[in-house]
Symmetry: C2
């Protein structure tokens, strides 16, 4: 089913078919109708591959994420997919499985498809695909895990501030021994959160009793690091989990230990999502504005695709604190 079949079925030239296909120039209404009918009858659909090759512009954008298993990233992907399709773009998805090499290979594959633009959340600070993206001059915005690159637009939250505020609230509630637990310092995001946490703790003169702990990429690893720390040291009065998977890990280990929340230990999580609210007590959390993140990332990329050459921007959105039942004043 090519444009040619349609043309001969409608008794016109292929250029005319192309013209009605693209709403171009002035095709006589009668011809246009004939062509449309022919397309209908033959079940014709434009071949995007050929079209893209010729016009040298595509309606596909690439999205590369470190994973889809975290509710935060899954939600981000969902929002971005919705935005993409609502604006006539298709989404090529890559999940790097927290592996920098896979991030690179996903990006590589997308570049060879000549995507119109990309949105990527680098796996960690290395951002292995950075050079490649730059060298191909592809429009790309970094989201969430905004690395230190300064030559690409980025959209994320103010991680320092978010963690700082979270820690301060815990301190204000009376906590003196706070244990922060995160995934990996190799993730700039996480590092900023840790820094924010440590700053708040230092400001309150509590540096000696507080500590930030990193476990790794998945729940198991984080859980194990946390378990060791919990077994070999004094019980903190509050745990501040710095990502959604950390929150899950903390919940599991705390549950395992049989400590009660918030009586024995308070828990402040990150990346609010629905399951946190059905737990008893409901889990307090720092909430990232996922929808805004997606909207900003998308529109920045779109602007670039459409030729915007303004200086690189670095958007930092604010998080909000959802204070619920899992956090309270310590009992001692």
């Amino acid at each position: 089913m090519t444009i040619r079949h349609v043309a001969s079925a409608a008794g016109v030239s292929i250029a005319t078919v192309s013209n009605v296909l693209n709403g171009r120039s002035s095709v006589a209404p009668e011809l246009s109708a004939r062509v449309r009918r022919a397309m209908e009858e033959l079940g014709y659909q434009r071949d995007q591959v050929a079209s893209t090759l010729r016009r040298r512009q595509t309606s596909v954008v690439g999205l590369v994420l470190p994973s889809l298993m975290s509710p935060f990233l899954a939600a981000l992907a969902t929002k971005l997919e919705g935005l993409a399709h609502s604006q006539g773009y298709q989404l090529l998805l890559g999940s790097a499985d927290e592996d920098p090499d896979q991030e690179l290979s996903r990006v590589q594959a997308m570049l060879s498809w000549r995507v119109a633009g990309m949105i990527v959340a680098p796996v960690d600070y290395r951002f292995l695909s950075h050079k490649l993206i730059r060298s191909q001059g592809i429009r790309c915005v970094i989201v969430d895990r905004t690395s230190e690159v300064d030559d690409l637009d980025s959209v994320g939250v103010d991680n320092f501030e978010a963690a700082h505020t979270g820690a301060r609230r815990l301190i204000e509630a009376g906590h003196r021994r706070i244990l922060a637990v995160g995934s990996s310092r190799a993730i700039p995001n996480m590092l900023e959160r840790i820094t924010g946490f440590e700053a708040a703790v230092s400001e309150a003169g509590l540096a000696a009793n507080c500590e930030a702990l990193c476990g790794g990429g998945d729940v198991q690893a984080i859980g194990q690091a946390l378990r060791q720390r919990l077994q070999n040291g004094p019980l903190p009065s509050a745990v501040f989990a710095l990502s959604d998977v950390s929150t899950l890990a903390a919940l599991r280990e705390l549950g395992e230990l049989g400590v009660r929340m918030p009586d024995d230990v308070s828990l402040l999580g990150f990346d609010d999502h629905e399951w946190m609210q059905v737990l008893r007590p409901p889990i307090s959390a720092v909430r990232q504005p996922i929808e805004d993140l997606a909207r900003h990332a998308w529109s920045r990329m779109l602007q670039r695709i459409e030729g915007d050459v303004s200086p690189v921007s670095r958007i930092q959105l604010a998080c909000s604190l959802q204070w619920r039942g899992s956090t309270a004043a310590p009992k001692d």
Copy 2:
């Protein structure tokens, strides 16, 4: 950066470049090396668009899901993405947001990209994109929400059996008033689960005290339906949630009501996932073999792509029951 640049840089013809690119025929080692070096130096990458147009076969497959927000579907997407990339395929992702029309438009877009194959989980029994897929003769396997179509391969679980077993276990535990809650009878999946539930309940002669309730596509809707039922009728001794979002909704409403699990009401969920295990008590659930589902769907599609013309297959995998603390014998 085209094949032409590489050719002239290496002092060979474009055909030779193409040949080394595809590991074709016997190119003299010396030439091959020269070409490879040129590609390296120029940072050349094959244009998949042009390549696809010419060879009439692509390395892109489409995945259309009703949503990514459910952990079950997100996990399925992750597994499929991994399989795709590990075999050299790219993934075009569409999330239909539980809307049949969006399902159709996603499929349409993918077809116009001439994807090598598709994996789709229809939004509901209507499976609006079915005709289109058939008419284009594209290789497609239906996953999870296997509709009643018999002309497409499908991979899913034995929903009837899963729900039947779940209900029987509840009955065996002593429950006489069981309330099942699901999303929508328009989803064949869900309908089979309800049927399985009702069969088990009838066999035990409990049809009069048991009931299956459907709320809709999202947590809010299901939650509301459940709340109404809970307020206007006798409290069941057990709730059997028939999907992951139903489980979440049930958890929320039960929590809202302040009933204790499993003392007042037992809860059996569906689509086991990590958050269920950190709840106190941990939630019992029917677990779908996500990884196997993904593997079967993928390999069936791959077989079709590779020319397999064997009769349509309908794979039904078995679920397993994770019996945890949220289910126990009723207290009365």
